[in-house]
């Protein structure tokens, strides 16, 4: 049977039978894989085996007849070791993995692998606040799933203008002018940047970015839960 080599990020691990583990992996070229790692259960933890979390590895595997293939070998390429030294950041890392896992039930494309790896790199080195990284990540999941809200024109069709206040219409995935609305020009501008940026590190220097991110979070979070999972 043909052996395939690819880069991979671990999304999860579970027990299987007496001696085996099943890994869920995200790859750039083969989407999401479920692979059996035979005989590794309890022999030693795979934390040191190249298929640990917050890492990118090169893996060799054989496709299975059913849904689960077999993992042959792994080689650690990069371990984002600094994520784990801050607890809130570690938990955020796991949360992002979980969100991406839920959002990619169908076979995900390369962009999802790039998104997760980019998120790890940001978490590992960046001074960007957790709230910013989370809202950016959710926005990217929405964008990749084709659910970017209308951030240029309101529901009625007029351009969004700085003088107005707006409220968000989930049915229309767009803003509606509302004198008592909660969203200002600054909020909408921030949302444009969050949906449009390839990295949250680029947004970290925006003035009052934490406040803007906190204000955007309920909206983006709700959209993610509604449109993705």
């Amino acid at each position: 049977m043909k052996q395939i080599v690819t880069r991979a990020i671990v999304l999860g691990r579970t027990d299987f039978g007496e001696a085996d583990r099943i890994l869920t992996l995200l790859t750039p070229d083969y989407g999401k894989l479920r692979l059996m790692a035979k005989g590794v259960r309890r022999l030693k933890s795979k934390m040191a085996g190249g298929i640990e979390l917050f890492s990118v590895s090169d893996i060799t595997f054989i496709e299975g007849r059913g849904e689960v293939g077999t993992l042959i070998s792994t080689r650690l390429v990069k371990h984002y070791g600094h994520i784990a030294e801050n607890i809130d950041r570690t938990m955020l890392g796991y949360e992002l993995i979980k969100r991406l896992n839920y959002a990619t039930e169908d076979q995900p494309e390369t962009v999802y692998f790039d998104l997760l790896e980019g998120a790890f790199a940001t978490l590992d080195e960046s001074a960007a606040r957790d709230v910013l990284i989370k809202v950016w990540f959710d926005a990217q999941l929405l964008r990749l799933a084709g659910h970017t809200p209308n951030l240029t024109h309101e529901v009625a069709g007029a351009r969004l203008v700085p003088e107005n206040a707006y409220e968000f219409s989930f049915d229309d995935s767009a803003f509606r002018a509302d004198a008592n609305g909660n969203f200002t020009a600054a909020d909408i501008k921030f949302l444009r940047l969050v949906f449009g940026s390839t990295s949250p590190a680029a947004l970290a220097k925006i003035k009052d970015v934490s406040t803007l991110a906190e204000r955007a979070t309920p909206l983006v979070n709700f959209m993610r839960q509604q449109y993705i999972r």
């Binding site: 691990r13 933890s45 934390m47 040191a48 607890i87 796991y94």
Partner: protein
């Protein structure tokens, strides 16, 4: 009880082990996350005491690995750490719900006697 004590500092580990053994427990000390998983595999612990600041892999990563094994999902875990509780206030709920950690002890505020009292809560009923 058999205690798996995950503590990277050799001197602290020796002190804690001595105190717990004097109280009648058996203690296995592991300095790293990997060694801790292997130790748990060799002898299932009745309770795990865990420092979060480890070399290479953090205590949280250990917990995710540990809880991914069916047999160990119900093992009580007490965090005894140099990390002040306020530093991960945002994650407490997640830690409790996902990783089953309900007891946090801050090392500078935790005497050996307090540790002992906490451990005693997990004594299996005969």
């Amino acid at each position: 009880m058999h205690i798996l004590f995950i503590e990277p500092d050799r001197l602290l580990a020796r002190t804690y082990r001595q105190a717990l053994e004097l109280a009648g427990h058996t203690v296995h000390v592991a300095a790293t996350a990997q060694a801790a998983v292997q130790a748990a595999d060799e002898q299932r612990p009745d309770v795990v005491i865990l420092e979060l600041q480890l070399v290479g892999h953090s205590g949280i990563e250990f917990l995710y690995e540990f809880r991914s094994y069916d047999d160990w999902q119900a093992v009580p875990v007490v965090v005894l750490s140099l990390v002040p509780p306020g530093e991960f206030a945002g994650s407490r709920q997640l830690l409790a719900e996902q990783l089953g950690v309900h007891n946090y002890l801050y090392k500078p505020h935790t005497s050996l006697a307090k540790l002992q009292r906490t451990i005693n809560q997990y004594t299996p009923v005969a």
